[in-house]
Amino acid sequence: MTTIDTSIYSAVTEAIRGEAQRTLSEGLVTAIVGYAAARRKGSAQPIVITNAADSEKLIFSPACVNNLTVYLTKAKKEIPKTGRVGIVVKGCDLKALVGLMGESQLKRDEIYIIGVPCAGVLASTVQPSQELTSDTIASKCRECGEFLPQGCDFVPGVEIPAAPELEKNYSAEIARLEALTPAERWAYWREQFSKCVKCYACRQVCPFCFCEQCLCDRNKPQMVESTPRPAGNTAWHIVRAMHLAGRCAGCAECERVCPMDIPLNLLNRKMARELKELYAYEASFQVNDKGPLATYDEKDDQSFIK
């Protein structure tokens, strides 16, 4: 077990508070979406502040796991209507934010991005009071290459300590599944999907599931069976994976909120890998007007058609 150096987080917290104080008091923004301490020791929760005096409530810690970008589109629709909104984002969250800009859901000049240098956050399975170590760190952070968000309006000027080399859970699991026969792999996913209770928490938390009426809720015609039965469950998760292909930023919120512990981000990472290999595309800090699934080129790799 290796302890991960999170000493910069207090300096980051100070810097966020200072920037929030300044931007709110100067009227640059009308609200800031960030993290605040929650009741349990060490835990954190999302907060929306509209008052400069509330800036002191903002924190950044290894418990700040949420991807806050959903608060700009669907979770709290009234917030963006107030004016330009500030938002605290980690590298993974920023990719989602950038993706939403590419899909006409957000305009760059309507948001004020406060990027945080991040050494990793805790896995959802451990207590928030625990120390960030090679055992307690979230799986997504093990394979993260974006500790420092880019293209933000403000980023605290701190030096990120060198990250230790960590075991790559997703890559290992993808390799394990790829080594299986199609029948075994199908059995694995059928088993996973059979656990689904159709609570749709994965959909609600996903920044890219921004449809006002999900096609899975339609009944004329019914595209996806609504009851939690294996066939409908599988259909739902495949639709989700396909819709996220070339869009998913890897914040892994779906996997964190799943009450049945379905490895949803594993599916997303596999799709992301396919997109990278086939079309040399991956979610990044650059706004992309036309994702790989909205373009067609005769020279596109078609080897997957068998």
Binding site: C211, E212, Q213, L215, R218, P221, Q222, M223, A294, T295
Partner: protein, 665 residues
């Protein structure tokens, strides 16, 4: 409740041979919602259509399913019939039990079961069909013709003579194309220039033809009736308005040693030039690649000698946007050059015939220039190597054509006839000479064609040897041609002074890029594809674009001219009314579900999707959604496939209809 009529067609025996059509009709009659079902030998025939119309009236049918061929074949036919019986034409659907069933299966029992299922699917689908009113769009009664060869010229003249404006775009500095290069034409041996140049002058003088030479198509937007075509007018370096065509610039140009492509590089031309004396327009162009002024900055003689001051070294490419309603593509052909395998060409090289290595091995077009009175030798047949008259000449046919192993399986169609013509021209000019022709078959269908070919043998003394040439090499100043005469079964060896190769006809360079700009399809050789090989031979699958001449496939002059006039007739049909009725198969957006991600806008190949603001009564912006312009929408359904929230649907192909079809199975 629906009262659906199902009409099962035998298609002669095309369907009934493998599908028990009576059983299909019987089973269809039992489907819920079906009020009437019958079968008939030829549904598309007049009695067949009358049967359908009568049934609609007598049985009070609400919807119609015709189980027959592909909708591409007869959907329009039956929708028209349904419309004349008083139903909305879009309440009629076709169940394809020919291409999708009888033609691809052998087992009658299985094919019959499948046909019943196909009909069942379409019955469920047609129940969800909506009444769709036709859409009318305005038509710009102006047309664009791409290519100024005989095809483009004929089409442009025909359309302009009918009273419509034409924009004719030609890549080269002059119109005329390949026909201007020919000496005499089969089967009458009239002079090509004599019949071509008056037409070229007609184009130049026509009040309704705008001519853009030395120009290329940059971009095309829009749709039938409403295209916006951007033409790049390349910098000619000579002001067309000022130039009088006196030609002094050409005589004074110090750089005179540039091979003239019009004469197949046999003659030379200056850097400022017109490709040939009869060029239209008679305005020179500066070949900037070879001009001393452009290469070194020194010279400028042409500018000094030009009286009207037309020479303009600073001229730049200009982009002109031409709004047109119809487009005729007539980009013609090129001859396969055989010295090596051209980059990207499907054909492998024919280096064994020495073209490019042995100077007196030439292609058919070069022979035309030698035989032409306006050619580099003034019409004398002389060897390019030493200028001597060849006394033994060998013509070899099918070079590249009909050689599957070399990459081209088609027949180039014109070579048999022009080779026969070449032997005659040769015999007329070199009385003591002897022409030999190596051929596989002589293909001479056409009015007066076979007689012409017979004449070359019987009266003009050409010796035809059935067989191919195996080897050809230079020996002294002779070319030894070794081949076989399979009619007699002996090897033949001829010491020739000149060899003429009838090389394959290929589409013009860049045919594929132009097709991509226009959104038309092409085959593996890059010949453009017609909408239907037999019934729509001059139309592209893309509405409003028509084909003329050898860009569609090898053609001789009579065929080219016929097709050009046919394409012109199609354009005139389109222009006969100022509004165009088009199918209402277009996409519509369900604004309630649309979240404005505009993926539809990104993927729409027609540029039909616009952004639309939804405001409340106070005028506050609620959201921005997609809007499909029905006049522009091509009905491809790409938006429907892309929309993540399923908020855009193609009328006639709604999710409800598709799911109903799946559930019927």
């Amino acid at each position: 409740m629906s009262r659906i009529g199902v009409f099962v067609c035998h298609c002669g025996e095309n369907i009934s041979r493998t599908v028990d059509v009576e059983r299909v009709a019987l089973q269809a009659g039992k489907l819920p919602g079906v009020a009437f079902a019958t079968d008939y030998k030829y549904m598309c025939s007049d009695p067949g259509q009358n049967l359908l119309k009568r049934a609609i009236a007598e049985q009070r049918l609400s919807h119609v399913v015709v189980a027959a061929c592909s909708p591409r074949m007869h959907e329009r036919t039956f929708r028209k019939a349904v419309e004349s019986a008083g139903l909305n034409p879009f309440l009629c659907e076709m169940a394809n039990i020919r291409e999708h069933c009888s033609w691809v299966h052998e087992d009658k029992e299985e094919a019959t079961v499948k046909a019943i299922e196909i009909v069942g699917m379409m019955v469920e689908r047609v129940k969800k069909n909506r009444v769709l009113p036709n859409i009318t769009v305005p038509v710009t009664t102006r047309s664009l013709v791409i290519g100024g060869g005989i095809a483009g010229i004929q089409a442009a003249l025909d359309i302009a003579d009918a009273g419509h404006e034409v924009v004719l775009v030609e890549r080269e500095p002059s119109i005329g194309g390949h026909m201007a290069q020919l000496s005499e034409t089969f089967p009458t041996l009239d002079c090509s220039q004599c019949i071509m140049t008056p037409k070229m002058v007609d184009v130049a003088n026509h009040p309704r033809i705008t001519l853009h030479t030395y120009s290329e198509i940059e971009q095309m937007d829009g749709y039938i009736g409403n295209f916006q075509v951007t033409v790049r007018k390349k910098a000619r370096s000579v002001d067309e308005a000022k130039c009088t065509g006196c030609g002094i610039c050409m005589t004074k140009c110090p750089q005179k040693k540039i091979p003239n492509a019009f004469d197949c590089n046999l003659g030379m031309r200056p850097a400022i030039y017109v490709p040939f004396p009869q060029a239209v327009p008679n305005t020179p162009v500066i070949d900037r690649e070879n001009c001393t002024r452009f290469k070194t900055g020194k010279c400028g003689v042409c500018q000094k000698v030009c009286g009207p001051g037309a020479v303009d070294y600073e001229q730049e490419d200009r982009l002109i946007v031409e709004p047109v309603g119809a487009i005729v593509v007539a980009t013609g052909f090129k001859l396969y050059t055989i010295e090596e395998k051209p980059k990207g060409s499907p054909i492998k090289g024919y280096g064994e015939f020495g073209h490019g290595k042995i100077p007196d091995v030439i292609d058919g077009m070069t022979f035309e220039r030698l035989a032409s009175a306006s050619g580099p030798t003034g019409g004398k047949i002389l060897r390019p190597s030493d200028g001597r008259e060849p006394k033994q000449i060998v013509f070899i046919q099918c070079i590249g054509s009909r050689a599957r192993e070399k990459g081209i399986s088609y027949c180039s169609k014109v070579c048999c006839m022009y080779t026969a013509k070449h032997t005659m021209l040769y015999h007329h000019k070199v009385h003591d000479g002897q022409a030999y022709v190596f051929f596989m078959d002589a293909r001479t269908p056409g009015k007066g064609y076979d007689e012409f070919w017979r004449r070359s043998i019987e009266e003009e003394e050409a010796v035809y040897i059935r067989g191919m040439v195996s080897r050809l090499y230079q020996k002294g100043d002779k070319i030894v041609v070794m081949g076989s005469d399979i009619a007699v079964g002996v090897q033949v060896e001829i010491e020739a002074d000149m060899v003429v190769l009838a090389t394959a006809v290929q589409p013009q360079v860049g045919a594929d890029t132009l097709a991509q700009k226009l959104g038309i399809s092409y085959d593996k050789y890059h010949f453009y594809s017609e909408a239907h090989a037999k019934l729509r031979p001059v139309e592209c699958a893309t509405a409003g674009i028509y084909l003329a001449g050898a860009c569609q496939g090898p053609k001789d002059i009579p065929d080219t001219v016929s097709q050009a006039s046919a394409a012109a007739a199609k354009v005139m049909t389109l222009f006969a009314r100022d509004k165009l009725e088009r199918e209402p198969i277009v996409a519509t957006v369900k604004e309630a579900g649309c979240v404005g991600c505009f993926y539809c806008k990104k993927v729409c190949p027609y540029g039909a999707v616009e952004e639309k603001e939804i405001r409340d009564r106070q005028g506050n912006l609620v959201k921005v959604v997609a809007y499909v312009n029905p006049g522009v929408c091509g009905g491809c359904g790409t938006c429907q496939a892309t929309c993540p929230s399923k908020s855009v649907e193609l009328d006639g192909y709604t999710d409800e209809q598709i799911v109903a079809m799946i559930e019927a199975l």
